[in-house]
C-alpha cells in the first residue's frame, strides 16, 4: 500500500477526477442521479487517496518533498513530470480535497439554470484535477499546464451557468488571467534560458539561480512577469476588477471554488515559485507588493461598504483579505509567509462558506440586494446564525480561523526581513490594522442588514423561504467545524508549513542581509 502511495499516490490523486469525468462523458446526460453519484464518488475517492497521503506524510520532515515522482516528460525542453508534496502544499491540497466534494454535495439539489448536471459536474472534476495538479507540480512547465487547465472549466462555468452578465464576466475573467499567465510563461522561459536551459524543476531552478550569477535587473524583470501572472490570479489591486464580476455572475459552486481554491493558486505561486527562486528580486519587489496589498486592504473594504449586492460585497471582501495574505508574503519573513499560507486556508474556508450562504439566500429570495433582505434570522434561523458565525470568522475574530491569517501578518510587518525598509512596513502594519476595523464594519453591516431585523413585507409570507436543507448541512458543517478547530489549534497548519517556510525565509534573509551588506559596502 505504502509502495503504491509512494510511487503513484499523488498521480492517482490528481488524475482520478479526470477519470471520473471520462466515465461520465460516455454516459448519457439524461441520467442525472448517476452523474451526481459518479462525480461524488470520484471526488471522495480522490479525497480518500489524499487522506492516505496525509496520513503517510512524514510530519517531522515537512521541508522535504515527499511522495516525489520525477519522470521524463518533454525531453526537448527538459520538462519533467515532477510532482511532490511538502508542508507548503499540503494544507492547500487538503483544502481542495475538502472543498470540491462539498461543492458536489451542495450541487445535489442546487444545479443552476440552465441545468445539464452532466457537463457541469464534468467541469468541476476537470477543475479539481487542475487545482490539485497545480499544488503538487514541482516543474514549472507542469505547473503552467495545470494552472491553465483550471482556466477553461471556470470560463465555461461562468459563461454558461452564470448570471445575467455572464458573457462579459467570463470573457473578462478569461482574458485577464490569460494575459497574466502569458507574462508568467515568458518569465518561466526566461528563467530557463538565463540559467542555461538545464531544468524547469523548481528545486533545480533554485539551485541554478543561486549558482549562476544573474544580473539583478534580469531577476527583477523575471519576477515582474511572475508577479503579473500570480498577482492577477490573487487578485491584487489594481488587477482585481475581474473578481467582483466573475464572482457575482458565477454560479454558487463556481464562486465557492473560485474563492476557496482558485485565488490561492496565485498566492501559492508566490510562495512556491517566485520567492524561493528569485530571492533577490523578491526583496526589490516586496515594498511594492506590500504597498499594493495595503491599498487592497483599505480599498477592498471601502469597495465593500459601497455595495448593494451581497455576493458582490463578499467578492470585494476577498480583495481585502487577500491583501493580508500578500502583506504577509511581502514581509518575506517566516512569520509573514506562515501567516499567508494560513490566511489562504482560512480565507478558503470562510469565504467559500460565505458564498455558499449567499447562494442559498439567492435560492430562497431570488435576490441578493441587501436593501430588500432582512430578518434572515427570523425566517431561517440556522442559516442566519451560520451567517453570523461566518462573518465573525471573516472579520478575523480570534478563536476562529480568520484571525491567524490576519494578526500574524500584521505582526510580521513590524519587523520585515532584512533589506526591507522597516519604517515603511510599520506604516503598512498600521494601515492593515485599520483595515480590520473596516472589515468589521462592512461585515457587521451586512449581517445587520440581512440577518437582523424583521423580514420585509415582500418576503414575509413567501412559502419558498425555509431553513436549511440536508445537503446544505452536509456541505457546510465540515467547513464550520474546521473554522473553529483551526481557530483554536492553529498549529494544525502552522506546524506543517513552518518547515518549508523557514527554509524560504532563511534564504530570503540571507539574500536580504547580503543586499544590505553591499549597500553598506558601497
Amino acid at each position: 500500500m505504502s509502495e503504491f502511495l509512494l510511487d503513484w499516490g499523488i498521480t492517482a490523486m490528481v488524475f482520478l477526477p479526470l477519470v471520473g469525468a471520462l466515465i461520465m462523458m460516455v454516459i448519457p446526460g439524461s441520467d442525472e442521479e448517476t452523474h451526481k453519484t459518479i462525480a461524488l464518488a470520484a471526488t471522495v475517492a480522490t479525497a480518500v487517496i489524499g487522506v492516505l497521503l496525509l496520513l503517510d506524510f512524514d510530519y517531522d520532515n515537512t521541508r522535504t518533498l515527499q511522495f516525489a515522482v520525477d519522470r521524463s516528460w518533454i525531453d526537448v525542453i527538459n520538462a519533467r513530470y515532477f510532482v511532490a508534496l511538502d508542508g507548503m502544499s499540503l494544507p492547500l491540497v487538503a483544502l481542495t480535497l475538502l472543498v470540491v466534494p462539498l461543492v458536489i454535495i451542495y450541487s445535489w439539489n442546487h444545479i443552476p439554470s440552465p441545468g445539464n448536471p452532466k457537463v457541469f459536474l464534468i467541469l468541476i472534476l476537470v477543475l479539481h484535477t487542475g487545482m490539485l495538479g497545480t499544488f503538487v507540480a514541482q516543474d514549472l512547465v507542469l505547473f503552467f499546464v495545470f494552472f491553465e487547465v483550471v482556466l477553461l472549466p471556470m470560463y465555461f462555468m461562468i459563461g454558461v451557468w452564470g448570471g445575467e452578465q455572464r458573457m462579459y464576466a467570463s470573457i473578462k475573467f478569461f482574458l485577464y488571467t490569460l494575459f497574466g499567465s502569458a507574462l508568467m510563461l515568458v518569465s518561466f522561459l526566461a528563467l530557463y534560458w538565463v540559467t542555461g536551459s538545464v531544468t524547469f524543476s523548481i528545486p533545480g531552478l533554485i539551485e541554478e539561480v543561486a549558482a549562476n550569477d544573474i544580473a539583478l535587473s534580469t531577476q527583477v524583470l523575471i519576477f515582474g512577469g511572475m508577479f503579473m501572472g500570480f498577482g492577477i490570479k490573487v487578485p491584487m489591486f489594481p488587477f482585481h476588477t475581474w473578481l467582483p464580476d466573475a464572482h457575482t455572475q458565477a454560479p454558487t459552486q463556481g464562486s465557492v471554488i473560485l474563492a476557496a481554491v482558485l485565488l490561492k493558486l496565485g498566492t501559492y505561486g508566490f510562495v512556491r515559485i517566485a520567492l524561493p527562486i528569485l530571492p533577490e528580486a523578491a526583496i526589490e519587489w516586496a515594498p511594492w507588493i506590500g504597498l499594493l496589498a495595503c491599498i487592497g486592504i483599505i480599498y477592498g473594504a471601502l469597495g465593500c461598504l459601497a455595495q448593494t449586492d451581497m455576493k458582490r460585497l463578499i467578492a470585494f471582501s476577498s480583495v481585502a483579505h487577500m491583501g493580508y495574505v500578500m502583506l504577509g508574503i511581502a514581509t518575506l519573513t517566516d512569520f509573514g509567509i506562515n501567516a499567508a499560507i494560513f490566511g489562504m486556508v482560512a480565507h478558503g474556508l470562510i469565504t467559500g462558506m460565505l458564498f455558499f450562504i449567499a447562494g442559498s439566500v439567492k435560492d430562497r429570495y431570488h435576490t441578493l440586494e441587501i436593501k430588500r433582505l432582512g430578518g434572515l434570522l427570523v425566517q431561517a434561523p440556522h442559516m442566519g446564525w451560520i451567517l453570523g458565525f461566518t462573518t465573525m470568522a471573516s472579520l478575523g475574530l480570534p478563536g476562529l480561523a480568520g484571525f491567524w491569517g490576519e494578526f500574524p501578518a500584521i505582526l510580521a510587518a513590524y519587523q520585515p526581513a532584512s533589506g526591507l525598509d522597516t519604517t515603511l512596513f510599520r506604516v503598512y502594519m498600521v494601515v492593515a490594522a485599520i483595515g480590520t476595523v473596516l472589515a468589521a464594519a462592512y461585515l457587521l453591516w451586512l449581517l445587520q442588514r440581512t440577518a437582523f431585523g424583521t423580514p420585509s413585507e415582500e418576503f414575509k409570507d413567501d412559502p419558498e423561504i425555509h431553513d436549511m436543507v440536508p445537503t446544505e448541512y452536509v456541505a457546510w458543517i465540515p467547513l464550520l467545524i474546521l473554522i473553529v478547530v483551526l481557530g483554536f489549534v492553529p498549529g494544525l497548519v502552522f506546524d506543517v508549513t513552518n518547515g518549508p517556510v523557514t527554509a524560504v525565509a532563511d534564504a530570503l534573509e540571507a539574500a536580504g542581509s547580503a543586499a544590505a551588506g553591499t549597500a553598506i559596502g558601497e
Binding site: L175, L302, P398, Y414, T436, W445, Q448
Partner: protein
C-alpha cells in the same frame, strides 16, 4: 506529573489545572447550544451548574492563593509542559536571532525529559535557575530598599500551541494575585447574574440562546483573565467583545439594538488597532515573545528601549480607551445599555469593561516604563483617566434613563481606575476594580429590578418615583450600592476611592509615586459629582410620588437574593484593604490591614515595578475632606429635590430652572445632552464619511477608473482589432494572398492561349527555342 512533583515544592493541583475554570462554562456553552432547548429549564440549569462549579473552584483557588501568600510559600517556579513535538530539524541552524538560540537550547533540555502520554505536565519545581525563562520565577534578587518581602510569584502553566518561524508559541494559565482576584469577581458576579436572569429574562423569545451567550462570555472572560501571554490575551479580549456584541444585540429585531451592538463592536475594533499594533511592538521589543512575565521583566530591566515601551504603551492605551470606555472612545458603553439589564451588570459594569484596566495591570511593567510613572506629574494614562472620570460624571447628570446614569457612572469609575494606574497606585486601582464590581453590579441589578416592576421602562422622570414604598428590598440595596459608589464611609467605595486619592501624591504627607495635581483635582471633583448624581438618581427613582401608570411591586426572590448578596458585599469588601494605622487605632491586630494589597500585589517580583515604586501613606485629613465634599454635594442635591417636591410632588424637574434662566447653563446642558457631540462626530462624520462618500468614491474609482481602464483597454483592443482586421488582415495580408491568386489565374489565362493543341505549333516553339538556344550558345560562348 506526580513523579515530577516529588520535589519539595509541590505546585497545588489547582494552579496547574486552573484552566478548568474557563473550561466549565465553555463546555456549558456547547451543551446549551446543542441540547439546551430540549431541557426542562431550557438550558439555564446547565449554565448555572457550570458557573457555580467554576465559582467553587475559583474560591478554592483564592483560598489556596491567600494561604500561600500568607504562608510565605511563594516560589513554585514556572510550570511548563514539555514540548511534545519540537523537532530540531525544523529549527534552522543558522538563524540570526540570538534570543531564540537561548530559547532553543533551553527547550531542548526539556526534550530530554519528555513525557510520552499527552498532556503530561513537566513541573520544574526547583527554583528559578533551571527555568526556560529563568526570571519568571525569580523574586527580586537584591531588594535594594529592603521594603518588600517578595510575595505571590506568578505560577505559569503552559503547553505548546503552535510554532511559527523559530518561535514556539504556548498557551497556558498564569496564576497570581491579580488573576485570582478576577477569577473570584467574574465567577461570583456571573453566578449571581445567572440566577437573577432566570427570573428577569423569563419567557424571553431567545431564553436558551441568552444563557448560551452568558456561558460563552464567562468562559471567554476567564480565558482572558488567565492568559499567560499577550497573544492569548488578545484572543480573550476579542472573544468577550463578540459576546458583548451578541448580548447587546440580544433583541436584534429592533434596529436601535443592533445599531448599539454594531457601535460597541466597531468602537472596540478601533481600539483594537492599538491592541494589535501595541502587542506587535511589544512582541518584537521583548525579543519575539508574547510571555507576559517576560515582557514585564524585560521592560523593567530596561532591556526594551524607552521609545519602544512608550509607543507600545500609547498604542495599548487606545485599546484600553475602547474596551474600558475611556474618553474619547467611551460612546459605545451607554448605548450598550440596549442589552438586557443583567448583561449590563455583568459585562458592561463588573467584568468586561474592566478588561482594559486589567490589561494595564497585567502589563504594568510596560506602562510603568512607557509612561515613566515614577516621579511624574502627569502622563497620558492619568490624564485620560482623569478626563474620563470627570466627563463621564458630568454626563450622568443629564440622563433620564436610569441605566444610562449607571453607564456613565461606570465610565466615570473606570476613569478613576485608569487614573489610579496612571499615578502609580496599582493596588488602589485593582481594589477599586474589585469593590466597584460589587456595588455597580448591585446598582445595575437594582435598576433591572425597578424596571421589571415598571413594565420595562428605564425612564426615571416619566415612569418612576416613590418606589421605596413599593419595593423596599430593591430600595435598600440600591441605597447601599449608591452610598458605596458615592464613597460614604465605611462602605466599600470609600476605602478604594480614598486610596486612589492618596495615591496621586498631592495631599501633604501621602508620598506616592509623584505629584499628580491635575488627576488629583479631577478625582476630587468626581468624588463630589458621584455623590450628587447618585442622590439625584435615588431621589428620582425612589422618592417623590410615583409618576408611572401601573402598580409597581417588589420583584421575586431570584432577583432580590442576588441584590441582597451584592449589597452585603458592597458593605464589607472595603474592609479587605483598610490602612494598617486605622486597624490598630480601632484595636485590631495590624495584620488585618492592607490584606488585599498583600494578596494581590506582586511587589518585590522582577516583573512588577520595583525601581522607585512606593505606596502612598494614608491620610486622615484627606479622607475627611473627601468625605465632606461628597456628602456635601449629595446633601445639596437632596435639598434641591426636596424643595422641588414641596413645590410639586409630581414634578421631576423645575420648569423655571437654571437652564431656563441662564443661556450659558442652557448651552452647557445642550453640550452634555448631546454627549459632547462625539456621537455626531463618529456616526455622522467619520462613519458616515467612510460608508458614504469615501466608500462610494472608492467604488466609483473601481468601476470607472480601474474597470474603466480595463474597459477602455478592451475597447481599444476591439478597435485595434477592427483596424487590423479590415486594413491589415483583409487589406494587406489577405490582399497579398488574393493578389497572388489573381496573378496566378491571370497568367494562366494568358498562358492558356499558347496551348492550342496544335502539334505543329508546339513544334514551332520547340524548334524556335532550340534555335534561339543554339544562337545563344554560339554567339555568347
Amino acid at each position: 506529573m506526580f513523579a515530577a512533583e516529588a520535589a519539595e515544592t509541590a505546585v497545588p493541583w489547582l494552579y496547574e489545572n486552573v484552566w478548568l475554570i474557563p473550561a466549565l462554562p465553555a463546555t456549558s456553552f456547547l451543551l446549551i447550544l446543542f441540547f439546551g432547548k430540549r431541557l426542562p429549564f431550557k438550558g439555564a440549569e446547565i449554565g448555572i451548574t457550570s458557573v457555580v462549579a467554576a465559582f467553587v473552584l475559583a474560591v478554592l483557588t483564592t483560598f489556596t492563593w491567600v494561604g500561600d501568600v500568607e504562608g510565605g510559600n511563594t516560589a513554585y517556579g514556572t510550570v511548563k509542559v514539555a514540548d511534545e513535538k519540537h523537532s530540531d530539524e525544523e529549527h534552522g541552524d543558522d538563524h540570526s536571532h540570538s534570543e531564540d538560540e537561548d530559547h532553543g537550547s533551553s527547550e531542548e533540555e526539556h526534550d530530554d525529559e519528555e513525557h510520552d502520554d499527552e498532556g503530561a505536565l513537566l513541573v520544574d519545581g526547583d527554583g528559578g535557575d533551571a527555568q526556560p525563562i529563568a526570571f519568571t520565577a525569580g523574586s527580586l534578587a537584591a531588594v535594594e530598599e529592603g521594603d518588600y518581602e517578595p510575595r505571590g510569584a506568578a505560577v505559569v502553566t503552559e503547553v505548546n500551541w503552535f510554532e511559527s518561524g523559530l518561535n514556539v508559541f504556548r498557551i497556558g494559565t498564569l496564576v497570581d494575585g491579580q488573576s485570582v482576584m478576577m477569577l473570584f469577581v467574574v465567577t461570583f458576579i456571573s453566578m449571581l447574574v445567572h440566577i437573577y436572569s432566570t427570573d428577569y429574562v423569563n419567557g424571553d423569545r431567545r431564553y436558551t440562546h441568552y444563557f448560551a451567550f452568558l456561558s460563552l462570555f464567562t468562559a471567554s472572560m476567564l480565558f482572558m483573565v488567565l492568559s499567560s501571554n499577550t497573544l492569548q490575551l488578545i484572543v480573550g479580549w476579542e472573544l468577550v467583545g463578540v459576546c458583548s456584541f451578541g448580548l447587546i444585540g440580544h433583541w436584534w429585531e429592533e434596529k436601535p439594538n443592533s445599531d448599539a451592538a454594531l457601535k460597541a463592536f466597531l468602537t472596540n475594533r478601533v481600539g483594537d488597532i492599538g491592541l494589535l499594533v501595541g502587542m506587535s511592538i511589544l512582541f518584537f521589543g521583548a525579543g519575539q515573545t508574547f510571555d507576559i512575565v517576560e515582557i514585564n521583566t524585560k521592560a523593567l530591566n530596561g532591556e526594551i528601549s524607552g521609545t519602544v515601551t512608550t509607543w507600545a504603551a500609547v498604542c495599548l492605551m487606545a485599546a484600553v480607551m475602547s474596551k474600558s470606555g475611556q474618553f474619547i472612545l467611551h460612546t459605545w458603553l451607554p448605548d450598550a445599555m440596549a442589552g438586557p439589564t443583567p448583561v449590563s451588570a455583568l459585562i458592561h459594569a463588573a467584568t468586561m469593561v474592566v478588561a482594559g484596566v486589567y490589561m494595564i495591570g497585567r502589563l504594568y511593567g510596560v506602562f510603568w516604563e512607557g509612561f515613566s510613572i515614577f516621579g511624574g506629574t502627569l502622563n497620558l494614562m492619568a490624564f485620560i483617566g482623569g478626563l474620563t472620570t470627570v466627563g463621564g460624571g458630568l454626563l450622568a447628570f443629564v440622563q433620564r434613563d436610569i441605566k444610562k446614569v449607571l453607564a456613565y457612572s461606570t465610565v466615570s469609575q473606570l476613569g478613576y481606575m485608569v487614573l489610579a494606574l496612571g499615578v502609580g497606585a496599582y493596588t488602589a486601582a485593582m481594589f477599586h476594580l474589585f469593590t466597584h464590581a460589587f456595588f455597580k453590579a448591585c446598582l445595575f441589578l437594582g435598576a433591572g429590578s425597578v424596571s421589571h416592576a415598571c413594565h420595562h421602562s428605564f425612564d426615571m422622570k416619566a415612569d418612576m418615583g416613590g418606589l421605596r414604598k413599593h419595593m423596599p428590598i430593591t430600595f435598600w440595596t440600591f441605597i447601599i450600592g449608591s452610598a458605596a459608589l458615592a464613597g460614604v464611609p465605611p462602605l466599600a467605595g470609600f476605602w478604594s476611592k480614598d486610596e486612589i486619592l492618596i495615591g496621586a501624591g498631592v495631599w501633604p504627607g501621602t508620598g506616592g509615586n509623584g505629584t499628580y495635581l491635575i488627576p488629583f483635582i479631577f478625582g476630587m471633583l468626581t468624588a463630589a459629582m458621584t455623590a450628587a448624581y447618585m442622590t439625584r438618581t435615588v431621589w428620582l427613582t425612589f422618592f417623590g410620588e410615583y409618576r408611572g401608570h401601573d402598580h409597581p411591586h417588589e420583584s421575586g426572590r431570584r432577583i432580590t437574593v442576588p441584590l441582597i448578596i451584592l449589597a452585603t458585599m458592597a458593605v464589607f469588601v472595603g474592609f479587605l484593604n483598610v490602612p494598617k494605622s486605622f486597624v490598630s487605632t480601632i484595636g485590631l491586630p495590624e495584620d488585618w490591614g492592607l490584606l488585599f494589597e498583600e494578596w494581590v500585589e506582586p511587589a518585590g517580583q522582577t516583573y512588577f515595578p520595583f525601581d522607585g515604586f512606593t505606596h502612598a501613606k494614608p491620610s486622615l485629613s484627606l479622607a475627611i475632606v473627601a468625605t465632606l465634599l461628597a456628602t456635601g454635594a449629595g446633601f445639596l442635591v437632596l435639598r434641591y429635590y426636596q424643595a422641588l417636591y414641596r413645590k410639586d410632588p409630581m414634578a421631576s424637574e423645575y420648569s423655571d430652572g437654571l437652564r431656563a434662566r441662564n443661556g450659558l447653563a442652557a448651552a452647557g446642558y445642550r453640550v452634555l445632552e448631546n454627549k459632547y457631540y462625539l456621537d455626531h462626530l463618529y456616526t455622522g462624520i467619520i462613519a458616515g464619511a467612510t460608508k458614504g462618500p469615501l466608500a462610494r468614491a472608492a467604488y466609483w474609482f473601481n468601476q470607472n477608473v480601474l474597470d474603466g481602464i480595463v474597459n477602455v483597454a478592451g475597447f481599444i483592443s476591439v478597435r485595434a482589432g477592427r483596424f487590423i482586421y479590415y486594413f491589415i488582415d483583409q487589406g494587406v495580408v489577405d490582399g497579398t494572398v488574393n493578389a497572388s491568386g489573381r496573378t496566378a489565374s491571370g497568367s494562366g489565362q494568358f498562358l492558356r492561349r499558347i496551348q492550342t493543341g496544335q502539334v505543329r505549333q508546339y513544334a514551332t516553339l520547340m524548334f524556335g527555342a532550340a534555335a534561339l538556344l543554339a544562337a545563344v550558345f554560339i554567339f555568347a560562348v
